[in-house]
Structures are given as C-alpha cells and as structure tokens.
Symmetry: C2
Subunit: 89 residues, 2 copies
DNA sequence: TTAATATTTAGATATACATCTAATTATCTA
DNA sequence: TAGATAATTAGATGTATATCTAAATATTAA
C-alpha cells in the first residue's frame, strides 16, 4: 500500500477515532455513528477511505456491515512510518 | 504539535524526500532544489509546511538558508504515531 | 551603490477532500 | 410482498493544498 495513502488516511481525526473504536472490538457502522459527531454518509466515506488504505476490512452480518481493523496492515504501516522517521536510515 | 499536522506533513512525497535529504546532512534550499522535481517556490512552500509541523528548523548562513531536521520532534512524532497504531492501547 | 545570487511571498489555478441532504440499494420481518 | 432498518451512492458546497510564474526581499560582491 502506498505510504502517502496510509498517512493521509491517518491524518484525519475522525478516522483516527474510528480506528480507536475498532481497537476495542469489531463494530457496525451504526454503532460507530452513535459515537462520532458526523452523519452516516460522512462516516461511510471515511470507512471507505480507511478500507482503500487497507487499514480496515468489512463483512456483512444481516442488515449490518461490521468493520474490523486489519492488523497486519496496521503493523506494516507502522514499519513504513518508522522507516521515514528513523534518523539512522 | 497536533498529530494531524504531523501526519499531513509526512503524507506528501516531496516532503518525505526533503526529510530524506536532511537525514544525511543539513542543506541549503538551493541544494535541495537541485535534487527535487519542483520549482523553488514550491520547495519553499513545502519547507514552510515542515517547519510549521516542527519537523525541520532553519538558519541563515550568508545568502543561504540552511535547513536541518528537528530530531526531537521527529522522535516525538514517531511516538505519537505508534500510539495510534498500537493495537494494545 | 549597483548587479548578482538565494530565498520567500503574492497571486492564480486545478485538484482533492470533508461535509451535508437526498436518493438508492440491500436485508430482514410482519 | 410491503414496510422498516442499515448502509452506501449521488450530487452539491466550501475549504485546503500542490503547483506554477512573476514580483519582492535579503545578502554578497564588484
């Protein structure tokens, strides 16, 4: 995944709040919407951004879509970012 | 420094190239300009962005402005980003 | 003090993005 | 199958940003 895309995805506060919510457990869009100061469509847009950046995944469960953190991608992102910031590189 | 600002600053490829150049040694604007595919004014704008994000500092030496990495801020940025991505948080 | 060099600032443009309301799609249930 | 619920898509708007050329500022040197 391009690092620019990962960093842009993380640069938005509401998207970081989504990531924080998903750290605790997988959640439906509606459940996250209750905890965020944005409308459903805006939340949907942010989830799409996180998904295209590879940071989250989704699955349908009945009427709901459940999102979860993509742990391996988060790990990979952390490594790439450390590479940028590592002075000894 | 707000983490959003740090991440936005790092999200641009040319700004990451600037950081890479400054890892090796302090450099003047002109020297960096020779190594980047952008005009002087665009470079100046990126340097300003990095400076406002606290990632670089500058000093005048004669006609030239010399930029350097702000190592403590880079360290702090790395910690904050790891906090975001740390699943156990 | 005039000319040359180095960098920034001003102003313009095109693109990306965060947000909203309204409309659409998908699923479940009565 | 009709209505209710969940989520996404469409379309609009305002703001931010990456880029450029041209102009302004700061320093040095002749």
């Amino acid at each position: 995944m391009p690092i620019s895309q990962t960093l842009s995805a993380l640069a938005d506060k509401n998207r970081r709040r989504i990531i924080d919510l998903l750290k605790k457990k997988d959640r439906s869009v509606g459940e996250m919407g209750d905890k965020l100061p944005i409308t459903g469509p805006t939340l949907s847009h942010h989830l799409d951004t996180l998904k295209r950046a590879g940071l989250v995944s989704s699955r349908r469960e009945g009427q709901q879509i459940i999102y979860s953190l993509n742990l391996s991608s988060i790990e990979e992102a952390a490594e790439k970012i450390m590479d940028i910031l590592d002075q000894k590189k």
